[in-house]
Amino acid sequence: MDNNTLFSQESMLYITFGLVLVVALLVLIVAVYVLQLLKAFIRKDMTEEQLAAEQMEQGWFARLWTKWNSFRPMEEEEELLLDHDYDGIKELDNHLPPWWKWLFYLTIVYSVIYLMIFHVFKSSPLQEEEYELEMTAAAKMKQVEQVEVVYDFDENTVTLTTDQTELADGQKFFATQCGVCHKADGGGLAGPNLTDKYWRNGGDITDVYKVIKNGVPGTAMISWENRLNPIRIRNVASYVLSLQGTNPPNALGPDGDLYEPGN
């Protein structure tokens, strides 16, 4: 069943696309603007006739701009001058640019609708509920994945796996997740060294399996029971034990009790 798409991932995708669009749009606006500027600077080199010719035929943007702002022609400017004069600065009595006015109204309408949706009709989730939805969607996906599988071992009867694909699976998982604390080579960082014979909670496969499954209360070692299926835990535990005696460089010193296999 193709149910690999998480709710959050899907919405993330939309958000990302939206963002990319916004950024692209902004970049485009800047690019057009810079081009305009450059063009303006190049025009310096034009002759009078060339300039006059260009001014005769206005581009579509200039026409649109004039229309949206409902500009009064430059020749009528005199009529618009207010009789004030501040240190030589005069002001024109132009009306508000219509598109600007509509933009303002639009944002006000948006705001009213926004507040209605979230706080009056409560038809869109606020952040706490949004979080619950996100978590539920993630959990649901997990359930689908783990449906009806019966495992023939538990934490007391688990045995080492020596299957190479399974060990490789364990290694891959260890490198990305466990390595954050135990270092990718198992030599230990925030968490203890896993490559020597000293263990805080025992060094048998069942011990390691239990630590991964249940976590160690009071430490940073969390429980992975809800995150990994038993096979995966066995793979990781087996991989960890395969690191015994590898002596990686800069490993942490002994921590915990000496454990000899077979005891």
Partner: protein, 708 residues
């Protein structure tokens, strides 16, 4: 009517202009240094005074209050005298203002590297300096209002409206946000705690941008742009509408800095919608500026002054569209805490403020020295270097922001974080940090060229300290009628009161309920005040400016509760946090759930050399924390101060607090000893470890209790 003769004071303008250039160079140099530290941590130099956490506030304070501040005063003192046809109210006040402001800057330059900071962004300066700022700001205000009252121009021009709004609002913002209880001469705790402190701080922080970086510069634009272009201002009506809507709406938008945090939802929503409604009022300013150039675009090609101003106004339009977009929840979820925000503020800072200042200086200096600009070519080179600098700065930061954010949020098909190691997401964007520094360097080079150009210009001219002018005095008669707004323009005191009302409403509506209504911050019984040792540790955290790179706010996203392994942050967890330390940028990981996540020796090693525990880390080492000791003599004072602002320490606890402190310190040093690390109990690192191990753990006690 008899003409009165009077003189404009140009000397004060010259003073402020020189200070602008000097502090521009210093502030940007510090900026270059911290930008470089992010890819070359060795540049932290291994000493306290030059680490990123301490000099990042030095950069922001220097460019905002020293560079932009001095430029604002230069521009205001020049234009205000002429717009009101009057010399400044009092020369004495002018020079108290000037020297007072420079002393404040000097005090900032000394105290910030020493680690004397309140931790609140753009309000880091400690309480004695806060008082000095208040006094000097009032001096500026009296001088300004005095000049307005003795004006020879009946109506106040739009630039003056913006200057009035600047004075009034910055005064209110600064005083309210600086409420703090002194502990020692250079240490205080914010009066507010947690969510409330955050709300007040970002009401301040956001409106410092609005009323220190925006409104005064709109005022300057309304004077210098039409002057330089020799064109009438496009629309008086637009001036009125965008002025009042801008100052009224701006003040509400502060909570957009706190989206998806523990701030109540209703306050967040107000922040979002008022940000959206801010687009048009902001663009009103841009439009009135650009449309004033209608019919003068041929001059824009020739004149570097106008070129700078056109790009400045355009950058303003860009930044004020981007700001509201960033205030939309979904966009904010991605951009917040990342370098996107750094890009955003630098488009505003370098583009709008910087370029307006450059344009203004290129216009003012030849004018005041009675000469022509020494080299128009050099000014043009400065223009292109600056423009290129902004682009090379901003684009990598946008990329870095989006890339890192997506890495933080990315899950693999099995439901695990794709990049569980935060460091991976940092090393990915280090090349972007390098490019950003190059952009900054280009911009900085332009400023140096400008400095040379301005000095040469001054040298070839001769400075006129006093400029004579004449105008008739205002007749003492009642004038009635006219446009409703022009009536207001004749009544400066009435106008100022209206401004005050307009800017107070938003703040009151958002703050009063958050302070008074309990349900806004649901209490959590298991959350207890910090122990004495943790308090010392917290103060070290503040001193070193850890909050400049680390947030303490796990947002309600699956990607964050997974990464930081705990619940998302709740409002009730911060009730004893004076000040709040949520942070605004994650150069390093969030720390709110770091308590108990690592053992003591890990923290010990990590602080001594971050790369020993996290290879490739760009965090600087903190060797002095291992040699310096906390001063237990201060414990009692800290506890008493916090009790005054409402932290429930038992009466008399301050007398026995140090016993508790030593006990906790000993438990940590003994634990360290078990890992073969020896350190004395009073070493600062012990206190810091105590604080870090406490962070975000109280709520875990609660959940354990519930499970029983």
């Amino acid at each position: 009517m008899e003409l009165e003769k009077f003189k404009y004071d140009n000397k004060i303008v010259k003073y402020f202009a020189i200070a602008t250039v000097i502090f521009g160079i210093i502030g940007m140099l510090v900026g270059l240094m911290i930008a470089t530290q992010l890819f070359l941590p060795q540049l932290n130099l291994g000493i306290p005074y030059t680490t990123f956490g301490r000099i990042r506030p030095l950069h922001t304070n220097a460019v905002i209050f020293a560079f932009v501040g001095n430029a604002m005063f230069a521009g205001v003192y020049y234009s205000m005298q002429r717009l009101l046809k009057a010399r400044m109210f009092s020369d004495t006040l002018s020079y108290i203002h000037f020297w007072g402001w420079q002393l404040i800057i000097l005090a900032a330059a000394i105290t910030l590297p020493l680690g004397l900071t309140t931790s609140k962004e753009y309000a880091e300066l400690e309480w004695p300096i806060d008082i000095a700022i208040t006094i000097i700001w009032v001096v500026f205000g009296i001088n300004m209002i005095g000049t307005i009252l003795k004006r020879r121009e009946r109506h106040m021009y739009v630039a003056i409206w913006f200057y009035i709004a600047t004075f009034v609002t910055v005064a209110v913002l600064h005083v309210v946000n600086s409420f703090e209880i002194p502990v020692t001469m250079f240490k205080s705790y914010s009066w507010y705690a947690g969510v409330q402190d955050a709300l007040v701080q970002w009401w301040y922080g956001h409106n410092a941008v609005a009323f220190f970086l925006t409104t005064p510069f709109l005022g300057l634009m309304y004077y210098y742009l039409p002057k330089a272009a020799n064109r009438p201002v496009y629309s008086y009506k637009l001036s009125i509408i965008h002025f009042w809507s801008l100052i009224f709406i701006y003040i509400w938008a502060g909570p957009h800095h706190l989206l998806y945090t523990s701030l109540p939802n209703w306050a967040q929503s107000l922040g979002t919608v008022f940000s959206i409604m801010l687009i048009a009022p902001s663009w009103g300013g841009m439009l009135n500026g650009l449309l004033t150039l209608r019919g003068a675009w041929d001059r824009v090609r020739e004149d570097p002054v106008l070129k700078f101003m056109v790009v400045a106004v355009t950058a303003y339009g860009m930044a004020t569209l981007e700001g509201p977009l960033l205030s939309i929840k979904n966009v904010n979820a991605i951009a917040h805490f990342t370098d996107w925000i750094i890009a955003h503020v630098h488009v505003g800072g370098l583009g709008w403020n910087g370029f307006m200042i450059f344009g203004m200086l290129y216009w003012l200096v030849p004018k005041m020295w009675g000469t022509k600009l020494w080299s128009t070519k050099a000014a043009n080179i400065h223009f292109w270097l600056g423009t290129l600098g902004i682009i090379v700065y901003a684009l990598p930061m946008y990329t870095a922001g989006v890339v890192q954010s997506l890495m933080w949020k990315s899950f693999n098909a099995e439901g695990f974080l794709e990049y569980p190691n935060f460091l991976e997401t940092v090393t990915q964007i280090v090349p972007m940090y390098m490019m950003r520094a190059i952009g900054g360097l280009l911009y900085f080079t332009g400023v140096i060229i400008m400095a040379v150009n301005l000095v040469r210009t001054a040298k070839q001219g001769s400075f006129k300290a006093e400029e004579t002018a004449e105008a008739p005095a205002l007749e003492k008669k009642r004038i009635v009628g006219g446009h409703w707004h022009s009536r207001w323009e004749r009544k400066p005191v009435f106008f100022t009161v209206l401004v005050l009302i307009a800017i107070v409403i938003g703040g009151v509506v958002e703050m009063v309920p958050t302070f008074l209504i309990k349900s806004n911050i649901p209490t959590i019984a298991s959350v207890k005040p910090y122990t004495p040792l943790e308090l010392h540790g917290r103060d070290i955290y503040i001193r070193e400016g850890c909050n400049n790179c680390h947030s303490q706010m796990v947002r309600p996203f699956r990607s964050e509760t997974e990464r930081y392994r705990g619940e998302y942050s709740k409002a009730g967890e911060f009730v004893y946090d004076h000040p709040f330390l949520w942070g605004s940028k994650r150069t390093g990981p969030d720390l709110h759930r770091v308590g108990g996540a690592y053992n003591n020796v890990w923290h010990f090693n990590h602080m001594l050399d971050p790369t020993s525990t996290s290879p490739g880390s760009i965090m600087p080492p903190y060797p002095w924390l291992f040699e310096d000791e906390i001063n237990p003599g201060l414990t009692a004072g800290k506890i008493k101060a916090l009790r005054t602002v409402g932290v429930p320490y038992a009466e008399g606890f301050e007398d026995v607090a140090n016993d508790d402190l030593m006990k906790q310190a000993r438990s940590i040093t003994e634990d360290l000893k078990a890992s073969n690390v020896e350190i004395i109990e009073t070493a600062e690192i012990v206190a810091l470890i105590a604080y870090l191990q406490r962070l975000g753990t109280d709520i875990k006690v609660e959940s354990t209790n519930q499970n029983q």
